[in-house]
Symmetry: C2
Subunit: 495 residues, 2 copies
Amino acid sequence: MAIYDLTFYYLLLFLAISNASTTQFYKPRLSTLVRTILRDPEVVSETLSDDFQTFYYTQTLDHFNYKPESYKTFQQRYVINFKYWGGSNAGAPIFAYMGAEAPLDDDLEGIGFLNDNAPRFNALQVYIEHRFYGESIPAGSFEEAINNSSIRGYFNSAQALADYAEVLRHVKENLSAESSPIIVIGGSYGGMLASWFRLKYPHIALGALASSAPILYFEDITPQNGYYSIVTKDFKEASENCYETIRKSWSEIDRVASEANGLAFLSNKFKTCAKLNNSSELKDYLDTMYTVAAQYNHPPNYPVTMVCGGIDGASEGNDTLSRIFSGVVGYIGNRSCYDTSVYSRPTETSVGWAWQRCSEMVMPIGRDNTTMFPPELFDLETFIKDCSSKYGVSPRPYWVTTYYGGHDIKLILRRFASNIIFSNGLRDPYSSGGVLEDISATVLAIATKNGSHCLDILPADETDPLWLIEQREKEVTIIEGWIKEYYADLAEMKQ
Amino acid sequence: MAIYDLTFYYLLLFLAISNASTTQFYKPRLSTLVRTILRDPEVVSETLSDDFQTFYYTQTLDHFNYKPESYKTFQQRYVINFKYWGGSNAGAPIFAYMGAEAPLDDDLEGIGFLNDNAPRFNALQVYIEHRFYGESIPAGSFEEAINNSSIRGYFNSAQALADYAEVLRHVKENLSAESSPIIVIGGSYGGMLASWFRLKYPHIALGALASSAPILYFEDITPQNGYYSIVTKDFKEASENCYETIRKSWSEIDRVASEANGLAFLSNKFKTCAKLNNSSELKDYLDTMYTVAAQYNHPPNYPVTMVCGGIDGASEGNDTLSRIFSGVVGYIGNRSCYDTSVYSRPTETSVGWAWQRCSEMVMPIGRDNTTMFPPELFDLETFIKDCSSKYGVSPRPYWVTTYYGGHDIKLILRRFASNIIFSNGLRDPYSSGGVLEDISATVLAIATKNGSHCLDILPADETDPLWLIEQREKEVTIIEGWIKEYYADLAEMKQ
């Protein structure tokens, strides 16, 4: 638990993001968790409970092809926690976490929903790592795999879902747990996977909890402005002055930077650890910091409030730039220097997701001049050109909606499918691409006004506000209903 | 129409089947239509109505991969009949035929369901050819494509369904027919594709008519004996004497063949066009003839009745072999000689389906000693060995149930999915692997006691018995209900 409580106090944040001097591939990040870097080893527990047992499944590289090379295999990591399981004789349920665009490690205790609710359900916990991340690499190291154009083609969601199907089938067979219902759970990209898994593999998963899954952020279903509109709204609601200060800061930074010794002045002003080479380094750092604060704007400290508290308090001075720096201090804390490259260091997540976005996950996220950020429109043509030149193959921007759907989702799914919860926090900018209305009696949307990205599936904490406790209880009750109905169906079938 | 009426009278039958001296890959055939060979050009019309317009879609070779070579394309043929369409402004429906394991040509008028019902629905008719058949070949000729181990791997159902999704999306966009509901229709393997398409792409197809689709003939869901048990039952019900005669004929053929000049005697007795090289040539010919008769045992002439009429009438003599030959004459008619190789000539269908069975469509069809045929158990290990040695890659016998499901289908789909009709004729041996009970209020089974393989989707004919007319009417009424409900939903959404 410590990791999450401490995140906003002591640690610099690390997220799946590029610096903005590269193209838009990486922006914004989509991780369930605010993954930390520069952890303080004294305060952050790295010890994983012994209840988590690691396994490897010999996974098929290509499920949709029968060429000799499709038969290559790799070792896919999955982790099981048997502690609370009621066993196969009881048909006790299985909670399956669908790994997302990161190594599995942080998720084992980070996705608290499984751990927290397993006792109540007597549930087995299974966590499956997404291909190409962590230890589930099809060829050599992550770097080798992602840089090999004939291997990274297999790095996509349809293959990943088929992986999960195989692993879950394998687990059930191994445990003779044929009658145990599986509930799949995921957040962010993993939430998309969870909902898609229920849609594509209803014979394997009885239901899905898809937390903060922006499955509608494809093509023109969601306005490209959606994401940054919500970031802006979050700040505006926290403080009109804060919003205004940020909105006018970008040109002020550019103005100062263009003056003689402007960059030195800014480096000094913002106590950057390394001298700024251009104003973009600073602007990208701030840009990302604000979006991270908005996306992961969760209790008890609410990062947006922390930033705005700094800006409005103006501990560092009253002019725009001083206020902006006060915001940084308000959020990050007092530091001898501030590392503006912290968000842009490449990680498996940033590098992996860059590829995923450039191949199939073409989410057209941009911003016009109505947000508090400088405009940066998403232009599909440019995006395709940039991706093609980087990877040698063109994105397929229409594939996600062709394979998974998305257009007219209410019309399509109201009489098809069942047992999916789409949960969103309306302060999460990705909620703009989420399902926010009930689709049917069993395909449900649960949105909390003050919630943030994937908050409901993070570990419960004693500081949780009532609305969050209630949200989780609502989700758990719905899932209990699915399982109860399933057992009744099962009994009826056996008659 | 002429093709189908005349089939059983004048023509030798041709089907997707090997001679049985090869392995079980091809047996039994699975085609919707009894495809003819040695057509009599004087009586069979080859002229297709001008209403059918041919188009080609530039199709992606590999939908599930982003390697450079996955981006190769091929020209996929599809055919549209606009004649009865009510147009996009009216949101008039689209009937989409999912091509199966054969060139599309014969299906255009052969799948009469579309033509016969398009006027009632003001429906557009779209017929899509399955990749690797007919003109939809990814590399050179059919022979080149199927013999190229790095190309034929793309020859599978998941890729084919994705092809259909792309073509249908393209057609709707081109015609601005976004609000037109699509009903997919298929028979036999094409029926499996139709039901799977509704399950995987509900956002593209509103509903599916899956005629004679043995989606449960995988793994151990259906007893391997299922198919030949029904063939046997068909004959037994037609005539106990006929059944008994056939049952004891196999050893009689072997006994005679093993005598001096036995093969010459048999060749003479059965008026074979070429001298028999072994008794298997004759047995395989008869074996296939009986199963074809049973599978396509349709009105008005009922091939099983024709065979048994011959056997029981004994026009050629009263001993077992004479009676068997009388059965051939009763079915095929009087000929100067009988071509025992007619069923075993390779065609796109036999060669293509052999690959499909050896890769993913691993249907364990066998027979023990309770049928009227010599036992020939399906042994998975042998099957895998044979396929591997033939193609260099191993079948994936668990893939169909992993990707599409099948186990506990009633439990799984009763609260998931909607708008599928599984139609079967209970005299069709493939009905043993079909869905014969309603799964829910909208996933329905329609079985006719006397129906044969895919009979309901063949062209209506004035000789059709009442039960067949009623079956089709029931199907059409259900589909009308789906469409009506869809329009109501659409109107509600627009409010």
